[in-house]
């Protein structure tokens, strides 16, 4: 947690009322905590919830405009430590703005950043409550998939080139929580360009394409000629464009369920209609 200025915040000072968010996930967190009305500026990528789309824009995710931010006269600017330009962050501080950078690398980071933001805004209970809601969603999924065997999984954004989720990425953790095993989870990079032969050799049982541009037909076609991959053979190639999965924000609980439904659809089927056969959820219970 890299809170540059947050720790020195005296308890007596009034909580910030004019906030600029430098990332879509931060915007989502503020709305989820009930502080959406305090936002005076968001990035052009902040599209959720719909109210965020109507807020004034301060530029792109990687290229926020310093002068537009300053003109908003915010009493708090919240960015992400891996994405926000540190030079710009320092510049903003020199101009007298209070800047907090949160780290969103792991699920733990995401949950504790929610608490940090809630604390900064003077309502720690809202943070605790939101985190409880998300961990509750996690537990629900965990319970569902508990009896199912782990399925090796490839989660990618885009097939040309094939950019896959690697290690040190909260999505890698989500895959594990969803009962999958990321075939690129041992990679040092959070995102990496995988060669086709690696996917064939790792033989994933599930392939999920989560990029916002993806279309089911194209994803399936892309893999169709590699029939030795179990996911292709067993028709477990899915296209699921989803910000819930890709954004390190308060919707990761829903994102986890999205992944789990694709990795273990049998665990989410109506129990009445199912009979225990194949690799069914209960069917594989020892």
């Amino acid at each position: 947690m890299a809170a540059l200025a947050g720790l020195a915040h005296p308890a007596s000072a009034p909580p910030p009322q004019r906030i600029v968010s430098l990332a879509p996930s931060v915007t989502e967190t503020l709305f989820a905590l009930g502080f959406g009305n305090r936002l005076v500026g968001v990035t052009t990528y902040c599209d959720y919830p719909v109210e965020a789309q109507k807020l004034p824009k301060i530029g792109g995710f990687m290229s926020p405009s310093l002068e537009v931010i300053v003109a908003k006269q915010p009493d708090l600017v919240i960015g992400v430590s891996s994405a926000t330009d540190p030079v710009k962050a320092r510049e903003m501080q020199r101009l007298g703005l209070k800047v907090t950078l949160i780290s969103l690398v792991s699920i733990n980071d995401i949950l504790s950043s929610i608490k940090t933001v809630a604390r900064l805004l003077g309502n720690p209970e809202a943070g605790e409550k939101l985190v409880r809601k998300i961990t509750g969603q996690f537990d629900e999924v965990k319970k569902r998939i508990a009896p199912a065997p782990r399925r090796s999984t490839l989660l990618a954004v885009g097939v040309r080139p094939l950019v896959a989720v690697g290690g040190k990425n909260f999505i890698d953790e989500l895959i594990t929580l969803a009962g999958g095993e990321n075939i690129a989870g041992n990679a040092a990079q959070p995102w990496l360009n995988l060669p086709d032969e690696y996917v064939v050799a790792k033989a994933p049982q599930v392939i999920i394409e989560a990029g916002m541009e993806s279309e089911r037909s194209e994803t399936a076609k892309h893999w169709a000629d590699l029939r030795s991959i179990p996911a292709v053979k067993e028709r477990r190639v899915y296209s699921s464009p989803s910000d819930k999965i890709l954004r390190p924000g308060p919707r990761i609980g829903e994102g986890l369920e999205d992944i789990a439904r694709l990795v273990h659809p049998e665990c989410f089927a109506e129990s009445k209609r199912r009979n225990n056969q194949g690799s069914g959820c209960e069917g594989s219970r020892p």
Binding site: G60, R160, A184, N193, E215, L226
Partner: protein
């Protein structure tokens, strides 16, 4: 000197086999040959994931080097390379527009009989053709193609296109921008033999066309006037070489993006080895370029495994220092054109 080309050809054959056997994952070749029809991971790794890409690498590397040779002769400039002609910029822009607006379009070949190919390479090729026509128009005065104008308009056109691409890159969404960047950096990743065959057809045709002009290219390096006095139709030669190399470059960039350094470096290295006779230099550069890119791509697949590096990084890493070393060793002796 026929010997040099023979040796290079043998090396190329060995490189193709070697590179197809090397990769980030272990391959059991015996297993690959068993059971070719059904789903066999080893066969898929060898025949689908590796072989097409190695063959594509040979074609692109060879084509880039051959284009570099003729452009350096045509423009009388040792810095000339395929990336300078404006065609590569046009192809990139076409490809980027294709990626942004029709990322999921697939073109059925002969009514779907031969499967489908992505629309993106075609968009890139159209971009290459448009930019070729533009640059050509701007460099043509009184029916003659001026090397300086060609060079300048190519460079300026490319910088302009680069700005357009950066603009597009900054307005598309975050994940899409990442995809565009990867595409721009270039990759030989393909599983489509159809694409490989298409590129080989282009490269072979273009190469033979250029090779047939070998003698005239020798003469034009003596200077335009001297060449004219020796009976070379310089105007026609310049136009033909420009069109032939532009078509080749357009086709190459459209499938593999911008893979730099080969077209600049390989011709100079081969000139040091075989001399400046284009009848020998062209095939030698083609073979050497093929060998070089073949190995560069294998390194790109292996070095950071499982992650794949953009192959352009490898060609620059290997090519840059080696080229500087050659320059240093040659001392004041000018690299002869």
């Amino acid at each position: 000197m026929i010997l040099v080309n023979g040796v290079l050809l043998a090396l190329l054959a060995l490189s193709v086999i070697g590179c197809a056997l090397l990769g980030p994952v272990r391959l059991d070749l015996w297993q690959a040959w068993q059971n070719l029809s059904s789903a066999n991971p080893d066969a898929e790794i060898f025949f689908r994931a590796r072989l097409p890409r190695v063959l594509l690498g040979v074609a692109i590397g060879g084509g880039m080097a051959a284009c570099g040779v003729v452009l350096q002769a045509l423009l009388g400039n040792p810095l000339a390379c395929p990336q300078m002609l404006g065609v590569s910029g046009g192809a990139s822009l076409g490809g980027i527009l294709g990626l942004i607006f029709f990322p999921n379009w697939l073109l059925p070949i002969a009514g779907g009989l031969f499967g489908e190919i992505s629309w993106v390479p075609l968009a890139a090729f159209l971009g290459a053709l448009c930019s070729m026509t533009l640059v050509y128009r701007f460099s043509l005065f009184h029916g003659r193609l001026h090397p300086y104008h060609l060079l300048l308009s190519g460079v300026i056109f490319n910088s302009f296109i680069a700005a357009v691409i950066m603009f597009l890159n900054s307005i598309v969404d975050f994940y899409q921008a990442q995809g565009l960047l990867f595409w721009l950096m270039g990759s030989l990743s393909t599983r489509a033999y159809l694409t490989v065959a298409f590129i080989w057809a282009y490269i072979i045709f273009g190469f033979l066309w250029l090779w047939a002009k070998g003698l005239s290219l020798n003469l034009i390096t003596l200077g335009e006037e001297a060449a004219m006095q020796l009976g070379v139709e310089t105007g026609a030669l310049q136009r033909q070489v420009f069109v032939a190399s532009s078509l080749m470059i357009g086709a190459m960039v459209s499938v593999s993006g911008m893979i730099g350094f080969i077209g600049l470096m390989v011709p100079h290295v081969m000139r040091l080895i075989v001399g400046s006779d284009h009848r020998l230099l062209l095939p030698a550069s083609f073979l050497a370029g093929g060998i070089f890119l073949c190995w560069a791509d294998t390194l790109a697949r292996i070095l950071l495994a499982p992650a794949e590096l953009p192959v352009g990084i490898i060609t620059a890493f290997l090519g840059g220092p080696f080229f500087l070393f050659l320059l240093y060793r040659e001392g004041r002796r000018k690299l002869a054109l």
